[in-house]
């Protein structure tokens, strides 16, 4: 059964972008089109990691979204 979107709010996510960057942050808002607003984001590319704060991630830019498996299990 699919979880409701509010279950994911507040989760620490790893978002792989299509341009090969990874974003780590807390899911704060999700809209009906799958666009995300993520806070406290760290952007990682190759070896470089930096903080970029509050980020809006359009669905089209997303390749994959990951979540910590233990945390995921606690959501169910």
């Amino acid at each position: 059964m699919t979880l409701s979107p509010d279950k994911f709010i507040g989760s620490q996510l790893k978002i792989q972008l299509k341009d090969k960057r990874d974003l780590y942050g807390v899911l704060t808002v999700i809209d009906p089109f799958g666009n995300l607003l993520v806070s406290n984001v760290k952007e990682s590319r190759d070896e470089d990691v930096r903080e970029i704060g509050l980020v809006s991630v359009p669905k089209d830019a997303i390749d994959k979204i990951f979540i910590d498996s233990r945390y995921y299990n606690s959501l169910k």
Partner: protein
Amino acid sequence: MEGFIDITSEIFDSVNQIANNKVVQSPLFDLLEGARAIEVSNKKLDTGLIELTEEELNFNCYGKVNIKQCIGILNKLLRSLMSWLDHSSIPVTLLSCRYVQEVVEQYLKTSKMTEFGDDGFSRILSSAVNGVVKFIGIMITVGNTVLYEEEDITTRALDMNFLNEILIDEVIENLERSIKITNDLVSADDSHKLILTHQLKLILSIVQSPILFNLQIELFQGNPYEFFNIILENAIDTVKYLNKINFEEFEKEVPVGCFSKYCQKKLNNHNIPGELYMISQESTMKNLEDIFQQLKSILIKSTSLKNIACLENWLDYDVQLQINKYHVITRGFLQLYLIRDDQSILGSPTFKLSHLSLELMNNCTLANTVYSSRNWNININDCKKLDEDYNKILNDLDIIAYQLIIIKCNNRCRQRQLINKNLILLDSLQVNCENFEISNYNQFKINDKLSDTEELSLPLTSFVYFKKLQLMIDFLLLGIELELYNLVEIYSIYWYSNYLLKHLLNHFSTRIITFNNNKLVRLNNKRKKLKNASQKIQIDMKRQQLIDVIKHNQQQLAHYQLLYRLTDNVTKILRNHHIEGRANFSEVPKDFLINFEKMFRLRFKPFESIGVPKSLTFDEYLISLKEPVSLDAVIKDLESIKQDYKFEGVENQNQLEWMRSLVKSSLMYLLHLNSDQELRSLTEGYNPYFPNFK
């Protein structure tokens, strides 16, 4: 991806459950905050997508540089510094320099200044960059302490530390050593050495400039602080020298990739991408010269103040009214220079905030009164209680004195906001002072007579009321300078200002001046009866103090009389326009969403809670609009203003210019009276409070 599971499709499927197109959000999150979010994958908003060239990516700060490159880099660095403080931010100016970025990044790792190499030019470059970085750190601290972020100064420091813990002496030593190294260079062209030496000296002067707010000025003693004056004069000469140099050929030598958007892409960055910003060479040199000239002027004027009246005039005419003409560096330094953490004024070991507030009161109403001498002449227990109560009042007055200084040092826009905040404070203090003084009279007959009548002088209340009226008038007229009002409101602003000025003049002439003159007469009479020479000397000192106070009173009176006459005539001119249909001050234009009465009440809301003078109502406003106007009387009065004000004895140049601009405004309105066209707009006049009507 150990420990992580892919939930891509699950998240995207889950949104199908969202009804009514609503967003699902954290209860802790304010959606308005979302407006600040950076959108990834959008070139205009995502610094991660900034494209850098190979040279920019691989720029090496530790490569050797020659003298021409060194000069070029330092020139661009100075331009970047002035560009940052020209309403820009650090990432698009100073941090765009890879040497600056390297220094701050290395500092986070090592807590030391960075050396770009062992050879002469690398050491010279290192000391200069470290010097500039140290100054950035100082300005960020100044900004956090006394300026407004995104208004006076925009930092966006990308989480970097600009050598905050490095002692300034260490930076200065390095720069001085570099100047010596440059002079001793044998391999370089003499003309290039001279330019580089001047650049280093300029950076040294910039780093030394915060000395200003560490100087300890003995007020009214005429200590000129020659050593700092010499630093500033040398700095001005250095800027003048550098201003003659054509730096284009040197900037062409700057290594490719030295200035770029690299920091925006690589460092912690919560901002959107910004184009690099650099003001012209001419503006850079002009701004630098202005800063040193302004600091010099502040130093010279503040150290040559003769008495409290000069200090008041300097604060009013050189600080408060001129503040927007000062560079942001000067503005920041000025506030830190004026009042220090230990509440000393100009760092004086003997003149603290409490002395300032007492002197301000002495210079208005308090001199030679029972409250200035504190000679209560009552029994010990009552005396103790009275002292306690009086100290409480004085503490409140210290707060007011502090606020008055802070108001003057802020930009003109903030001045108005701070005035608004302090009006209530002054109003309640006025009530407290009045209760205190009346109760002292009722209980202990403590009082100085206002004049020959039995009326109480109430010197404390009188001072606070005067300051309150001053601020109320400033509050209204400052709005004209800041172009806050709609054309339809202009009449109401002058009409209300005129009402307040009438109260102020009345208070001034019937109380303050009457009281001070009466005190002088009493002293003169007392002196006549004395035979002892030393007692006569004491009386003479008090007389001189009162004579100085009365002279200051007269100057203030002249200023407010002039403002009164101008606001009176402007009110009548505008009313005449209204009556003759060339303007409408009773209705807002049709496209306004608010009606005029609401707009009026909103505009004068800050005065609604003020007890005295009573606030004017909208009905009174409408009645005033119908009062007939005699233009002949207006013309006659405007014509006579020039003859009536000669400003003899006014020593402060900015005060003189301010007063003259008011007189010129009267002539400007005379010319305006010849025009019978519709009132369309306000344009710049001679005085910011009195624009021209077009």
